[in-house]
Symmetry: C2
Subunit: 285 residues, 2 copies
């Protein structure tokens, strides 16, 4: 094993410390409204974790829990209330929703300046146009990891495997914004390894366990693994970390890589939204 | 010269014929509001051309000409009026505007369902998220050209040179949506020719005359030239067409390639917007 393992947990802890320092310096703490509908056990755990970290950095936990049989109109009205409430600086609608609700329509009701998940059309448009705005947490966490690990992006070839709205597509935009040459691969890519082997920075968000092995990585590359899968042998990512570590200069492990940074970026986004709502401008990250 | 020259003029004429057929089948013709501010001679020519083609395909020309000293508030109010007017199905704000106006703020006032230039945050977000919406005319014109020229995109490597909001970035999204593997290059790309030589489909929108020569093209590739430059020797594009034609399978000429298709797509977008506003849904293209 020759590659440096990038410790996402400690980088995320540092981001949370910086967020806490910023919160402490503000006249009023930002408030994060996590919106949970029904009783999905996994969602409950995710939301509990977000609320705990929110409180730890000194922000207000403005959680709302609505029953599983809430109507589309009731939920829309709740979101409108959160948009109008100046104490609420960030709104997170926890997905998935019960099947009688239309999540895409509800997400669009969130004020883009409070859209701390960065999932609305307006947030996606601001990113696409290079305008200030709130960015999706996972891909902006990946850029934070690369920056804090001292990885140069400008002029380098960054290859993204996967093209989801949540990770792959915004990831490509964020890397392009940082002056990388960017390629996006996916299930229809003819010879995946031939392209990934040209990457200086390789971000894998394909949702396929151990898709990327040593033969798909250029010696000296940095490899970021966004995948997470529960297998009989424990958690693993989209990258065969042990094999790739023999070739790459640096890799993020699973668990303990991108995951912790994603929640840290949610807190980061909430502070950015709060600070900029108060000066009356558009949120920048 | 071995490459096939793709005749953008005849492809655009065919698109306009299809638009005219669609318009003829509609109970009421769509209306295009071109909004011209001041007396920029180039803008006047562009707008006159758009209005002429709009009338030729049977749509209503709802042109507005405002004086150069119009205020931001007056122009905003004009846009609000066009948004509210059911006879107006498409709104085009001709740029550039006089320097006392803020074009980005004004563009954002256009109803995304009437945004036939596809330049608003909402339109960019809908494209980024793969949702129905109105797409920018030049890059969607390029995809039309490739389709009508019989060029396969799925699983092929498409390389875009340039990353403007108007062409490069939406072009990459549109090619990705069509299942191409997509790379985006720009001024900071380390070895441009090394990447463009791997392209099955190469779209050049860099704004640099004759940036791409024969050494930058893979034998058998399709090359689309979005650039247009006025030189002493006449109009030329970003591609050295004569040289590249010895290597590529097909190239678009300048003039007579992408240019005519861009205006055809404006008409196409106006019909798409009209048809879908009437059924009460979101516009699809």
């Amino acid at each position: 094993m020759t590659a440096r393992l990038i410790d996402g947990r400690s980088l995320a802890a540092r981001v949370r410390d910086e967020v806490a320092t910023q919160v402490a310096s503000m006249a009023e703490p930002p408030g994060l409204a996590t919106l949970l509908v029904g009783d999905d056990p996994a969602s409950e755990i995710y939301v509990r974790n977000k609320r705990r970290l929110c409180t730890e950095v000194g922000m207000r936990d403005l959680h709302r829990h609505l029953p599983a049989d809430v109507t589309q109109a009731e939920l829309a009205s709740t979101i409108a209330g959160l948009n109008a409430d100046p104490a609420v600086t960030g709104i997170l609608l926890q997905l998935p929703l019960p099947s009688h609700l239309r999540p895409a329509d509800l997400l669009e009701l969130i004020d883009p300046d409070k859209d701390v998940d960065g999932l609305t059309e307006a947030s996606a448009g601001r990113l696409a146009l290079g305008k200030p705005g709130l960015r999706p947490c996972t891909p902006s966490g990946v850029v934070h990891i690369l920056d804090r690990a001292g990885v140069e992006l400008k002029g380098r070839h960054a290859v993204v495997v996967g093209r989801s709205n949540l990770v792959g597509k915004p990831q490509a935009q964020l890397l392009l914004e940082r002056d990388a040459t960017v390629s996006v691969c996916h299930r229809h890519t003819a010879d995946l390894a031939a392209i990934t082997r040209t990457a200086d920075v390789l971000v894998v968000a394909a949702g396929v366990p151990h898709l990327v092995g040593a033969d798909a990585v250029k010696p000296g590359a940095t490899v970021v693994d966004v995948g997470i899968h529960r297998t009989e042998a424990g958690l693993c990512g989209d990258v065969d970390t042990a094999a790739v570590a023999e070739v790459a200069a640096a890799v993020t492990p699973v668990p303990g890589g991108v995951g912790p940074m994603t929640i840290a970026m949610l807190l980061w986004n909430t502070v950015a939204a709060a600070r900029l709502q108060r000066v009356g401008g558009t949120a920048t990250v």
